[in-house]
């Protein structure tokens, strides 16, 4: 697939971020760097497993079909999210709060943690679309 997003290194650098739909579980690759993944067309839950941590990696995940989407770390316990620096996975799985769920995961400069942000334009002030952390 095209790696424009990866070459440019971020979503904003490209007028159109690389957008890829996955309808089944997917192992995210280093070469996917800069991709906005969606679950457009999915009829079931989708698990995105992140690649091994490395500085410079950034991905976004957007739920467009009303199915659960989980973003999981390969190594585990290295996702930083809402008061916890050792999460293994984050999911949009709450009924009626899946569509619109948007999560950004970005490796820290040391390549040792996934820094995670909920970018959902959800109805809950604090949480947006609710994220279930494990």
């Amino acid at each position: 697939m095209a790696t424009t997003g990866a070459t440019l290194g971020s979503f904003g650098d490209s007028p159109i971020p690389l957008e890829v739909a996955q309808t089944a579980n997917y192992q995210v690759l280093v070469t996917d760097n800069g991709t906005l993944f969606t679950n457009t067309g999915a009829g079931a839950a989708v698990v995105f497993t992140l690649p091994a941590l490395a500085a410079g990696l950034v991905f976004e995940f957007l739920v467009t079909a009303a199915q659960s989407v989980t973003i999981a770390s390969t190594a585990g316990t290295d996702m930083v999210f809402q008061g916890n620096a050792g999460r293994s996975s984050l999911a949009f799985s709450t009924a009626s709060e899946k569509i619109g769920g948007r999560l950004r995961v970005q490796a820290n400069a040391a390549g040792t943690k996934w820094l995670c942000s909920n970018l959902s334009a959800g109805a809950n002030a604090a949480s947006g679309n609710r994220v279930t952390a494990a």
Binding site: G12, D13, S14, P17, T64, A66, G100
Partner: protein
């Protein structure tokens, strides 16, 4: 206005994205692409930003600076993907005591058929369908 941001086509391509204040309702144009709109100077006046016709590559952000509501509305309607909705008409920062500091963004999808909506603030978003 300067169109540096529009020329570069995005926020992060420019160290300082193009920021434009509006104090009244405004119809966003494709030429505004890459702009961060704010309501500085609007005081408590509500502002409606109406998005342009959908096209791939469009990206805008909206920052609450003054204590007025900000609504981002689709021109066509029923094409905004946001909380539990793939066909919303508008999103807004309108909750009392949560307007200042709100920051919402919209980006067209690659096909140019939907507005993908998000936020960068911990403020309530009101969705209209």
């Amino acid at each position: 206005m300067s169109t540096t941001g529009a020329t570069l086509g995005s926020f992060m391509a420019s160290p300082i994205p193009l920021a434009v204040s509006k104090t009244a309702n405004y119809v966003v144009t494709a030429a505004d692409n890459g702009t961060v709109f704010d309501n500085s100077g609007a005081s408590t006046t509500a502002i409606v930003f109406t998005l342009p016709t959908l096209a791939a590559g469009l990206f805008y952000e909206f920052q609450g600076i003054d204590n007025g509501s900000i609504t981002i509305a689709s021109a066509l309607g029923s094409d905004m993907v946001t909380f539990n909705d793939v066909g919303a008409n508008s999103i807004a920062s309108s909750t009392s005591s949560e307007k200042i500091g709100s920051r919402l963004f919209v980006r067209s999808n690659a096909a140019g058929t939907k507005w993908y909506c998000g936020r960068r603030s911990s403020t309530t978003v009101t969705v209209a369908t």
